[in-house]
Symmetry: C2
Subunit: 498 residues, 2 copies
């Protein structure tokens, strides 16, 4: 870079450092709100988060930032600095594309619709939700159009790009079409094979929360979670949040079963290891942050689905669970493995197994694409939903509560988010296969409860890159090819049909 570029870069780095620190503070406020904030403090917390959010937006969209980004030039080299400028431009483009009154209208409409949705879901009342959801959709579409004009993308791709930079419908559609072709027959074969197996015994419990938490702490430590720079707490919905060098994950413990709590912890620990492994030298800078939601999900799923549902991990964890929760034939390794990997098409996405989950995502992706493009009227959503469930999974929801009312995403304004779940699952399969090919001890290590071989490879090939590379370039470097749906299908076949 020239001297002038350097000055511009330095000034940008200073501004984005502040923006990064504010993002950390917002992460801590969100964590606090979800875990231990007194209920009556919600109004004050909303004020704090809105104020910091607006300030961050103002910093990002200040005219000086546009000038500096223009002055920073086009260093097309492979340096971290060049990648940092690319990430700055991406953040700046998204932030400046949408007029602030549209942002405000969206925030307000989404807050109201989310409230309405809680009741509508409970009461199976899609008609009651429709007016406010229409408004949220209208504003999402308007946002997509505004961002699309600024970024040279279709409205849907512009929304998707906000969650997963560089992901495009043109890439996703064929991948999802391929998967949608593959799944029904594959599912049939899995169910047929499964019918010949004894159904798994379900561990009986009781599952005291304190014991679940002890087990969670032990497994997190095995995964490499650093309790000197992070915490595990309880919240209604598990998440990974907090701040740089202070990664806080949450879970919830059920009285009835240990699996949701345990899998939640393993999943969020995967997210946490990504955050903890980001390049410390680039802390607070855009290039030092995680890639989009798909790569993040790949890191939670590589732990939860790839590593921790292997026969090896189940063999390692079964005696720990037996010692923690008491004698039960269900803890026998073969049974527990079968319990872990039982497949059953059902209506609710968040409860879905690994095989049927993608069908839920493909359905939602197709529907939200059609809704944003105005090819589907929102009033026709319940019918389209149920048709899709029939085609993809062969089941039809008995009502909208078990159908199109189940997810918070659309009411809360998150349009273009859904595909990242399955993109993440596919990337996880591809990365896990490549990791095992590169390091022979990864799966044996998992069998000993030693995750360091896997985490070492992930730090070097994923975490440590921050967002220096695009997702496809990262996959190319790490696995030899861009996202390849066959890796996921190979994984499913080897786990469920071998």
């Amino acid at each position: 870079m020239s001297r002038q570029d350097n000055e511009a870069y330095g000034a940008l780095a200073e501004t984005f450092q502040r923006i990064g620190v504010m993002t950390d503070v917002l992460g801590l406020l969100e964590w606090d709100q979800a875990t231990l904030m007194p209920e009556g403090s919600a109004g004050g917390r909303a004020e704090q988060m809105a104020t910091l959010g607006v300030m961050r937006h103002e910093m990002l969209t200040a005219p000086a930032v546009a000038d500096l980004l223009a002055a920073a030039g086009d260093a097309a080299d492979a340096s971290w600095e060049a990648a940092n400028i690319t990430r700055m431009r991406h953040m700046h483009a998204h932030a400046t594309a949408v007029p602030s009154d549209l942002v405000a209208a969206q925030t307000k409409a989404a807050a109201a619709c989310e409230m309405r949705w809680r009741t509508a879901r409970k009461e199976n009342d899609f008609a009651g939700l429709l007016p406010s959801l229409r408004e949220v959709l209208r504003l999402a579409r308007e946002t997509g159009v505004a961002k699309g004009e600024a970024l040279g993308l279709s409205p849907y791709d512009a929304l998707l790009d906000g969650f997963e930079p560089d992901a495009r419908t043109a890439q996703i559609d064929p991948i999802f079409a391929d998967l949608a072709d593959f799944l029904p027959d594959f599912l049939g074969a899995v169910l047929e094979r499964q019918a010949a197996l004894p159904p798994p015994l379900e561990p009986k419990g009781p599952f005291p929360h304190g014991v679940q938490q002890d087990v969670a702490h032990r497994l997190m430590a095995r995964l490499g979670f650093d309790f000197e720079r992070g915490r595990l707490d309880v919240s209604a919905h598990p998440f990974c949040g907090g701040a740089s060098d202070d990664v806080r994950i949450t879970t919830r413990y059920s009285d009835d079963g240990f699996l949701p709590g345990l899998m939640g912890v393993l999943h969020e620990t995967g997210h946490a290891m990504y955050e903890a492994g980001l390049p410390a030298d680039w802390r607070y800078q855009p290039v030092g942050a995680a890639l989009g939601m798909a790569m993040h999900e790949s890191q939670s799923l590589i732990v939860e689905m790839q590593a921790c549902r292997t026969r090896e991990f189940v063999g390692f964890v079964a005696p720990i669970l037996a010692a923690a929760f008491g004698d039960d034939a269900a803890w026998e390794t073969d049974n527990l493995h079968r319990f872990y990997s039982w497949v059953k098409p059902d209506f609710i996405r968040v409860d879905a197994d690994e095989v049927t989950y993608p069908a839920h995502v493909i359905l939602r992706t197709r529907l939200e694409q059609a809704l944003i493009a105005d090819d589907l009227d929102l009033g026709d959503l319940p019918g389209a939903w149920n048709d899709g469930m029939g085609a993809l999974l062969g089941i039809t929801p008995p009502d909208d509560t078990l159908g199109c009312l189940q997810d918070i995403h659309w009411p809360s304004g998150a349009w273009g988010y859904f595909p990242t779940y399955t993109l993440g699952a596919m990337a996880a399969a591809q990365l896990f296969a490549a990791a095992n090919a590169a390091v022979a001890d990864i799966t044996p290590g998992i069998g000993r409860g030693d995750f360091e071989p896997m985490m070492g490879w992930l730090r070097a090939n994923v975490h440590g890159h921050g967002s220096r590379l695009t997702a496809d370039d990262l996959l190319r470097q790490a696995t030899g090819r861009p996202l390849d749906p066959k890796a996921f299908q190979t994984h499913l076949k080897s786990r469920y049909l071998a």
Copy 2:
């Protein structure tokens, strides 16, 4: 106000709203750091707090704020708006008076000195602390000079004014002189009378932390603490923090005794009730915030010292403690009251009883005045300290650990803070007497564990005013006269000699 004034006022209110919200966020980050932040996250937290602190300082000192404050004119009326502008000018004057490199040097020197102090106190090594404490003192003096020039005050008064607006040496010195005259003879009389009493039995325990916490929650609820808008947690040093509508107090529980934990909770709950009772209509504005540290301390002490060491309160709490911690002759009300109000001159301020505490404060106030004025060389502090203890309390510390090394204030850069403790104690006595004169049921209520009569009076006469009035004007309205040292002396006589 004129139309132009109104515009200026509106713009100022908007800026100070943001500043107020950031103060809340900083309060929450501090609370989190003290209660549950993982140790390894300290570096990140320092970065977050420094960034928000600098941003708040920049907002406050922006040239536009000076222009707006000039344009806002001099509305000398008694409106909240006029008082708000006065408080804005006060904050602005303090923030702009000190060049930012001096602020930075001070922060750095204090952080280093505080670290050094932890070792020096442990090792009784005043000489080892001296160089870094000299630097902190030099910078404090420089700050006092800079603020003094801007505010038209002496350097010490300028520092004091940062903790307690409008407090002045010229007012404090005669008050403290009067108290210093009163105390030695009074203390002699108290000790003489006490010698004729049976020494109190000390409750034996054990005092399980969970039980202490249950008792704390019950008493906090009695005091009116709203757990829907606040929390009680544990930290190394008890404090009242958090944010508006989210008041978080902390305590620590000792295995050996219930009194420190209990009194800590009552003290911090007094602070919390002040915060919770501030005028909601003026939330985030300077006028909606609490008055200085002296009035804040008066609200903790009116609970801890005035209300909760009465014979009536002890009669109420004794059976609760007996039920919680098990049979013990020490829980008998007369004994517990004697235990609560036993006087013993000793070296450590934070462990001091109500009678000897002011002597500790007077000593520190005189010493820090002399050090800031350069009338006392820092190298002569240990001797001056020990002479003062002899004169005021008749005891001489055997070493500096029990003498001039005991407090964190000076090493951490808090010069001009000490007098607020005793100003608060005196205000508490004056307010409690006036409250009881105005509302007959206050002390009987306390005997029933019903604090509403007292809190109602405090909300109307103290909390609800925010910082609309000066401390003296508030006392004048509430008690009929400005701060009057006789009220405190009357209280001491009636409690300890009656």
